[in-house]
Amino acid sequence: MTTRPPIPAHPRLGIRLAYRLQRALRPRRGLRWLSARIEASGLARPLFTETERITKQTLFGCRMCGQCALPVTGYVCPMGCPKELRNGPCGGVGTDGGCEVYPERRCVWVEAYERAASQGQAADLRLLHLPIDHRRWDQSSWLNYWQGRDEGLWTGEAAEAGDTGDDAPVPHHQPALGGS
């Protein structure tokens, strides 16, 4: 794994611009073709990966987990959370929105919520992020994204894993007030 410990980072890219870039850089034929060429090259690939590292480290405090969640976290990196939580904040967020571990820094999920909600994207935070693949640290997530390898990172249907019905709790009833 990376040697850089996770520390909450305040993003230096405004959220509007971030979403605009996201739309511009969606995987299209041209980008798919270009990314395949970069990936195939022994020289271009490390150069490109290093460029991504410097850019995203500067803008988002990126640690190169290689499976980028930024598009659905209001462009605040969840891997800056000291617990590397990818599905929302822990219960220890301070009343001022400070991180439990680094109280002088803001919780990445508080920032993520504010930024996403400011653009009407708060629903993004409801997506279920699946466990990450730790073999992908230090890979270029841009190449992974354009090559379509990031598609299983999160799902909108958390319940997909077999809701057979039997184990789902049935609606319960309120006890009569003051009685048994």
Partner: protein, 331 residues
């Protein structure tokens, strides 16, 4: 009656908490379980609470089970990767431990080994999803089949009071979608704020998919009150509660704290969608019978056909034994 049956039957559930000892004996757990057995439906057994090394949660859960009380085995994401976590669920299920409570866990920074490597390979939502997958799909994350698959009743935690306020009910929704069948909340001192959160929870229909147990704590001293207000991550003590507990003489703080807990339980019972309470009283288990008595829950529970035969007197005698065992092994 098991916790699951209690909740399914629709009667008000009560759970409490035991923190295992720092030592190689389950005797303190057994003594505390004997004290609580007739008063609560199940008891959480903490997993290296506050990032301090303690007897393993599974071992404490097994001792609780053997003492005749149903355990809720806590499982944090802090110390074990996905291989160890899945393995632990199999072990627990094989030993008869059915209730598993999944939480992120405190950061190692706050415990007695701040230099330790924080694992957090999975987060709490992912762990819930993994455990449910093991149970319902009969397979581990790698896809390999489990013969037989584990049986488990999955719990989660939520803090209704921590920012971002607009996302806290949604976060519970994610946990429910991932597999949570019951949830225990952080300390409720601020009932009005809790009601706001419950309104959001009901709007999302989560109270019909998941049993909600509200966390209630009993403050036992002024020091504990200050510690809770200033030092415990994620706990909010409103000013009126703080003033009320400071207004009584210091030797009566515990009694006032218990009274406040009983009143809080009564208020929480009236909130639509609250299926029970979780007493956060680790280290102060003696207070449980008194609180439940005053909250009017003790009598109601004996009637409901379980084995609740405890009286406040016999519990006091048991608690003396529990305390001496604790003194022997250190806490």
């Amino acid at each position: 009656m098991s916790l699951r049956d209690r909740l399914t039957s629709g009667s008000f559930a009560v759970t409490a908490e035991i923190s295992p000892p720092r030592g190689a004996s389950t005797d303190p757990v057994t003594a505390t379980a004997a004290l609580l057995r007739d008063w609560v439906d199940a008891v959480n057994v903490t997993d290296n609470q506050g990032s301090n090394v303690r007897l393993a949660s599974w071992a404490g859960s097994l001792a609780t089970l053997q003492a005749g009380l149903e355990p809720v085995m806590q499982m944090t994401c802090r110390d074990r990767n996905r291989i160890a976590l899945q393995s632990d669920l199999l072990g627990a299920s094989a030993l008869g431990i059915r209730n598993v409570l999944v939480m992120t866990g405190d950061h190692p920074k706050f415990g007695d080994h701040p230099e330790a490597k924080p694992v957090f390979d999975l987060d709490s939502v992912q762990l819930l999803w993994t455990l449910r997958h093991m149970r319902d799909q009969g397979a581990v994350l790698s896809g390999r089949a489990l013969k037989p698959p584990p049986d488990c009743f999955l719990g989660a935690v939520e803090n209704p009071f921590a920012p971002p306020a607009g996302f806290r009910a949604d976060r519970l929704g994610k946990k429910v979608d991932a597999g949570a069948q019951f949830v225990q909340t952080q300390f409720v001192f601020d009932v009005a704020a809790f009601e706001n959160w419950m309104a959001q929870v009901r709007e999302l229909g989560l109270h019909q998919k998941c049993y909600i147990l509200a966390g209630v704590g009993a403050v036992r001293s002024r020091n504990a009150l200050d510690f809770m207000r200033d030092k415990v991550p994620g706990v909010t003590v409103p000013d009126d509660v703080y003033r009320r507990l400071r207004a009584v003489p210091a030797d009566q703080t515990a009694a006032e704290g218990a009274r406040l807990a009983a009143e809080t339980i009564q208020q929480l019972r009236e909130i639509d969608g609250v299926a029970g309470v979780h007493l956060l009283v680790a280290g102060n288990e003696r207070a449980v019978p008194g609180i439940l008595d005053e909250a009017g829950l003790a009598a109601g529970r004996a009637e409901s056909g379980s084995t609740r035969s405890g009286s406040a007197q016999s519990v006091r005698a048991q608690s003396v034994r529990a305390q001496s065992v604790k003194a022997e092994y250190g806490r």
